[in-house]
């Protein structure tokens, strides 16, 4: 299961890299990097549900967040730029919602679902960061 989760997160990182607008895309926090614009995929947890149509299967929801970070002295411009990057990131993630065949639409949710954008208001100018939730759903056969 851990490797499947890792594969899905890596697939999200790869998808964000195809968006083209990021100088850096990381799995996990970017650490001390100051490169901008940058995106990070942050794993938040996994929820598990019993399958209601296959007795030997479980449905998993992998919760992650994507944060998009940029920098601008002009707050309005910074916000607009971060929004553009978020839009590009969203489109890149939804280009293949099935995450290379690992995820699927299930009764508990679509293969990939995106949440609302949230501006991090705690950051001080010129830093701008917008993040949004990503939920991926997949079916796992019961481990014997």
């Amino acid at each position: 299961m851990a490797s499947t989760t890792g594969d899905i997160l890596q697939d999200m990182v790869a998808a964000l890299r195809t968006a083209g607008g990021f100088a850096l895309v990381t799995l996990g926090p970017a650490g001390t990097s100051t490169a901008v614009p940058r995106a990070a995929v942050l794993y938040e947890g996994t929820e598990e549900f019993p399958s209601d149509d296959r007795p030997a299967a479980r449905w998993l929801r992998i919760r992650a967040a994507v944060s998009v970070h940029t920098r601008s002295d002009d707050p309005a411009e910074g916000c607009a730029r971060a929004s553009e990057l978020c839009q590009a990131a969203s489109e890149a993630l939804m280009a293949d919602p099935y995450r290379n065949g690992k995820c699927s639409d299930l009764p508990v949710g679509r293969a990939t679902e995106l949440g609302h954008w949230q501006l991090d208001e705690s950051l001080k100018r010129p830093e701008v960061e917008i993040s949004f939730a990503v939920r991926c759903h997949l079916e796992m056969a019961e481990e014997s």
Binding site: D52, D53, R54, P55, D105, L106, P107
Partner: protein, 135 residues
Amino acid sequence: MGRYSRIQSVTFGQAALPLAISVKLSRQAQPLPAAGDGDAFATSLQLGLPVIVVEVRLRDTAAAEGLSLGQQANLSFTVAAADSASASRTVTVSGAVLMAVELAYEQATLATATLRFVAEAPDGITDPFSAEESQ
């Protein structure tokens, strides 16, 4: 213990009906009330012939599309016990006739098929319903 929690398999003759969500089986007889003149309520009650109806809901709509109305076969399903100490149970309705197929394709949820069967007893005596512990 007698608790069952998971549908392991559903078959109709040779055809598997995968991804079953639910199976509902009803054995029902219509009441035939009788009363004397002036009675406001039934003073005797008889039952009409029992009818066995099975409704199967499943997500594999392709499997349901392959069935024909009027098709007759034994309908069988196995439910697993809710605990490891008990055995699974297999319910069989012999001579089940497929009388309805409903396919529902929805935009935001997975498609489902609902199959309805009515059981027929060829000799008029043998109960089409049987249930036993799985081997």
